[in-house]
Every structure is written in C-alpha cells, then in structure tokens.
Amino acid sequence: MTRPAKPSLNVLPLRERMKVPRQPMPEQPAEARASCFTEVNLGYSAELARQEAIRCLECAKPACTDRCPVGVKVREFVQLIVAGDFLAAAAKIREDNVLPAITGRVCPQEDHCEGGCLMGKKVKPLGIGYLERFVADYEQRMGVRHLPRVPPTGKRVAVVGSGPSGLTVAGDLVQRGHKVRVFEALHELGGVLVYGIPEFRLPKQIIREQLDYMRDMGVEFETDVVIGRTVTIDELMEEEGYDAVFIGTGAGLPVFMNVPGEHLNGVYSANEFLTRINLMKAYKFPTYDQPMVDLHGKDVAVIGGGNTALDAIRSALRLGARKAYVIYRRSEAEMPARAEEAKHAREEGIEFRMLTNPVEFLPDSDGWLGGVRCVRMELGEPDASGRRRPVPLAGSEFDLPLSVAVIAIGTSANPIVQSTTPGLGTDKRGYIQADSGTQRTSRKGVFAGGDIVTGSATVILAMGAGRRAAKSIHEYLTTNQW
C-alpha cells in the first residue's frame, strides 16, 4: 500500500543537526487573533518542514514512537520529509494514525513523541507535531487518498460515538476489510473534536476533510442516534446483526464544584459554554439561532487548568470579554493543558490566577452572577496523582467581579449506555471497565475505550485505546475466540 522508507537522504552529520534551531511555528500575531476564531497556527511551509526534519537524529531505538499512544513511525516519516516525498510521509503516518491532521494540531506532543525525543535533553526536541500537521495538510491539498484494497470479511462492526477513539476504530477496521458503521448522538460528527475544541485550534474544515477521507475508505456514519436510548447495544448485536460493538461515548456529565451560587445565571459548565460556541455557533447569533450570553465588555473567568479550560477562556476573549481569567488551584507547573496553549493564552492577554480556588459565586441582582469569592492556596504534600496537593490559606479570601464563570474541572461518567446494557461491567465511578490491553468489556463482542473508560483524558490517548480495540476486534472477528 505504501512505499518502504528510502534510506536516509539526510546528509547533515549528526553533530551538526543539534545546531540547527527548531523551526518556530508561523502563527497569527496575538493582537489579531485574540478577536477572531481563525486558526492560530499557520503551519510549516515545505521549506520549513524540510529544515526542521533534517534535525532528526534518526535514533536506532526511537523513544518518540515508543511514547506515541498509536505508535506513529516518526523516524520513517521524518526521513521521507527529508527525502522530499511528503505523500509517502503522510502514508507512513496513516499506517498508525487515521487522523494525522487532527493529532498534528491537538496532541500534547511534549507528553508523548517530543517528550521522548533525545534532542530534547540538550536542545529543543524535534517539532514532530508540526511535521505531522504539515504532511497531513499537504496530502489533503494534493487530494490524495490511500484507500484500503482488502477483500471484505463480511463482518460488521458498530462504533458508538464519532470522537477520536471511535474514528480510530472505524478507520483501522475498515482497512482490514470489515464493514463499519459509526453512530453519533449529536447532529454533527466528530464528538469532542467538534463540540469541544474551538475553531482557532482545530478548524471544523479539517475535521470534515478527515471524515470525508473516512467515508471514501468505506466507513458509514449515522447521526442523531443516542445508543442506549434510540437503540441499545443488545439490539445492535441481536437485531441489526453487528458482530462486534465498540463503545467510545467519551466524556460525560460535567462536574460542578458544589459551592454556593453555582446555579446563578452566567455560570456555565465548560461543555455547555463550548458546545454553544463550537457546535451551535452561538457566537454568530442571530444568524444562528442558539443564543449565548453577550460577553462584550464583560469579565469572564474559567475555573480549571486543562485544555478545556483554556479553550473556553480563549473563546470568551474572542467573543469580546474585557478581562479573561484562568483560576486554577495549583500552580502553572501542574496545569494539565498543553504547553503551547498556555503560551498562546498568555500572549493573547489571558490573566492567570494560579493557586486560587473559588469558594462561592456571588449574585449581583435578578439571579445573575456578579463575582466570585476565592481563597488563595499553597502546595502541600503530593497527592494520589503525584502532584502537590493545594491547601487553602486561612483568611486569604478575596472577591473578583465577574459576569460569566465557566467551570472546567472535569467530567463524570455518562450513564446512558451502561444503564441500558445488562451485564456491562463498570467501576465504582460508573466508567465502563475494559481490559487495558484488549479494550474488551465484560460483554462478549463489546469493546470500549477513550474517556468513557479512563475518565477525561486526551484525543491521542483515546485514539491509542481505539487502535488497541481495533486490533483486538479484528482478532475476535477472525478467530471468533473471546
């Protein structure tokens, strides 16, 4: 299907490669982008990509690949960029990752491939994410498709949820000759990629292109189907004739803080705030009908330190917020958000209020939010997560005037599939139990992965679970052994 990686054309001696600086990502100036939703990062040119690619040390045992949840063969694809064969580079990535234009944009590379890059120990690591994005975009511009040419197996697989894990399962299985249909509860495909991640970080057009690619590969999609309500897992298997089911229903119910005033108008969950903006395009009200609180000239804060929190507050800024705060109970070092997002947010003028925790949302009048009472925190002993536990400083309360607060402190398990699928094992928090190697659940023929198994995580970790699930679904379908 793809050509083998050619011998390295990288003529630069290893010693010299470390001296080449990491090529920065061209981006929109902070002032310009803070008021619009167009993408922040502009992407490498072919020249920049080759300039960056020659930095690769071509390690014999590449840690980048080991640390990639889907095992992208980084060294090989980077060598193909050096050779100037960008389409072959894209094909090489696609052997392991069906959504390269997406992961190239939203992966926390510092925790995975780039975190493993040997060069990172001395200088800046190879820009693997930037290179992945470049070849994926190049492939899309060229209109090239690598379509599976495998005989159909006659087996049918239902995928529940069209987010990163479900799309990965679908892409991997359709390439092995299985017939795959993806069911989505919302009216648009993509799961968190469309309702959660804003346009300025992941343009919807990119997702549509990746979905078109999957359709061309033979994946079928059906929207407006809530599995567990519209049709159950048992009905899919017994009545609609699916041989296996993958459950990738994703992040669930938003968690609130349980502090006074949380029900005031103007206090949102991040999921609602971002869904209104991203999925429903409420920022284009009244052209689009879904309404949204007018943020012009208002002070807005997000509570939390993850990618979702930064997505929400950077969106608020773009919608005209006067002041935009990130309120986080630990320090910046513990923030789970991607390093690049924190940097971008800061450049755009977001104020970081670290070691700060809300204790009460304060009303102004008529049931609307007027401010937040916070307490300052300090870091104590490490907790179960290994991060130092934040402890409130007695008597340090202060009030911050606010019109809108967005709570982005995580999600809990959505119960719909679990409660309508008898015999499906769940843990004490309600997440679906699945084997960490095979993604098998307690039900024969039913697999699960992504946030509905692990709780809130990242796109690439969900894709890793999808990849493992696809492998074991394929094994199950071909051997019929459970």
Partner: protein, 295 residues
C-alpha cells in the same frame, strides 16, 4: 432529514406533527422527549412526544408557538422536513399500579401528561385527570384524555369553557373531599407545577413533575439542564425529566429559564418581521429594524 407526514393545528398556536422516525417510534415510552433542530442554523430544542406508532414508524409531537424555533416549526406542513430529530430522550415515566393517580395537564403540558396517563390506566390505576388551559380554544387532547381517565375535569382561566379557575382548584377540592390519592403527576407551566407541589407536600401525596429547562444536547454532556432537586444538581435529560415535585427548586428553574430572554425575544421579533416582510410584496428589501439589533 425527518419527513413530516401530517401537520394540523389542534388549537390556536398549537400544532401536532406526525414525523417519520422509525427508530424513535420503536423505543419511545411515556414521559420521554425528542430534541429537534429544524434547519442548519437552527437551535436544538426539546419537545414532547405525544405518542408513537411503532408499526408505521411515526412519532407524534405537539408544539406550541412560543419563540422563533417553535414558530418556525409550526409554519411547516406535511411534505416538509425537519433536519434533526433525536430521541427518545430522558427516563421514561415509572409505570406501575399505584392506585388512584391524579394526572394534571396545564396548557401544552397535557400532551406530555397524556401518554403517561394512558400507560398508567393500562397498568390498572384509577385515573383522575385535570386539564387546564387559558381559555376554551386552548384546551387540547380532551377526547384523548377522556378515553384514558376514569374521570376528567377541565378548567379554563377565563371560564369560557367548563369550570372557571385553575387546575389546582380541582386538586384542592379532591383533597378536601377526602379522595384518596396515591400519586399526582403534574405537567405544565412552572407556576402551576410549583402550586401543585405546595398543595400536596403537606398532604404527603407523592407528586411528580416533568421539567423543561434549557437544554442543548439532551444526552448528559452539556449540563445546561441542571436543576436543583433536594439541594443536589440533577440533569433533566438523563436523571429526569420527571422529578419529585416536593424536592424541586422551582424558583431557580424560573430564574435559569430566563437566561436568554432578551435573545429569545429578539430572535422572535426578527423572525416575525421577516415573515411579514416576505408576505408584503415589495417590502422584502426594507429590512427589519429591531431594537438593539446589530446591522
């Protein structure tokens, strides 16, 4: 795309649609609802399922013109489509033999109460129904409710039909007359449901209400539909829509449902203005000046 097979006004501003939706028709149980998005730029709104016909793959919904989306929906007719219909959502009503059940429907809430009343009747309960509306022409589903009720009482606010007064007046009479009531189900405007809850709380009559808060996805993802029940946040889409009336914070529900009042009024005003402009020949280019509207 979901085809509208049949559409008829059953009262001024209240329309019944038969929609082709075989998956939903097959699964729908009393107490559940759908979310619709009428067209590409449309918002998602929850709507009552009145009934469904599994054999024909059709669901019936009842829509009252309130804001832009419901006005737009009610301008559609047989042969038109609705872009998205998803469901059935929410937990079905608990259907069991309780004894005597008072089913109360206020306004278009009667459409939500009706399928549950019918199922409770089939389960062997004695059904006393109280249907209320502002005035005569807004009384809906009278025949249907009569068929599933052992007795049916009707009230109109203005006295233009049946008894003048509110549904709660009838409930008070039942209680005062010493009628043994095992369960009350009340579906209607929030003030009505709150009044019912106030009346049955002291009598310790188990009372359920079906809530209709702001909602987007309807699957438990957004948290917009959170309501305070017994001091705890619950999501109407996955934990409800029916809740123990005695534990619901109705005032908070009223407050939260007001969040987008200004935007809703503006959307509706612009929609009606556009519709009028379209109706008037040559007036289409005049545009619609709405107070506060951006150019």
């Amino acid at each position: 795309m979901f085809n509208i097979l049949h559409a008829e006004f059953i009262a001024p501003g209240i329309k019944r649609f038969h929609i082709e939706a075989s998956r939903i028709a097959r699964k729908q149980r009393p107490g559940q609802f759908v979310i619709v998005r009428v067209y590409e730029e449309g918002e998602r709104i929850p709507l009552t399922i009145e009934s469904s016909d599994n054999a024909r793959g059709i669901i019936s919904i009842v829509v009252q013109s309130l804001g832009k989306t419901t006005h737009l929906l009610n301008s559609l007719n047989a042969g038109d489509h609705i872009l998205d219909v998803v469901g059935p959502l929410g937990r079905p009503s608990e259907i069991a033999k309780f004894g005597t059940v008072v089913v109360m429907g206020g306004g278009v809430g009667t459409a939500m109460a009706y399928p549950t009343a019918a199922a409770l009747k089939r389960a062997g309960n004695r059904i006393i129904s109280i249907v209320g509306a502002r005035s005569r022409e807004l009384v809906i589903l009278e025949r249907e409710m009569r068929e599933v009720s052992d007795s049916l009482m009707i009230t109109t606010d203005d006295g233009t039909y049946a008894d003048k007064g509110f549904v709660t007046d009838k409930l008070r009479q039942l209680i005062q007359n010493g009628v043994r009531i095992d369960l009350v189900l009340a579906v209607g405007p929030i003030p009505m449901m709150k009044a019912v809850a106030g009346m049955t709380r002291g009598e310790r009559i188990r009372t359920l209400v079906s809530l209709n808060p702001i909602m987007i996805d309807g699957t438990g993802m957004c948290g917009g539909c959170r309501v305070l029940v017994g001091g705890k946040s619950e999501f109407a889409c996955v934990d409800g829509p029916e809740f123990d009336a005695h534990r619901v914070d109705f005032d908070l529900l009223v407050q939260r449902n007001r969040t987008y009042r200004a935007q809703e009024q503006r959307s509706l005003a612009e929609f009606q203005c556009e519709r009028e402009a379209r109706g008037k020949r040559g007036a289409a280019d005049e545009g619609c000046a709405v107070e506060g509207a951006r150019p």
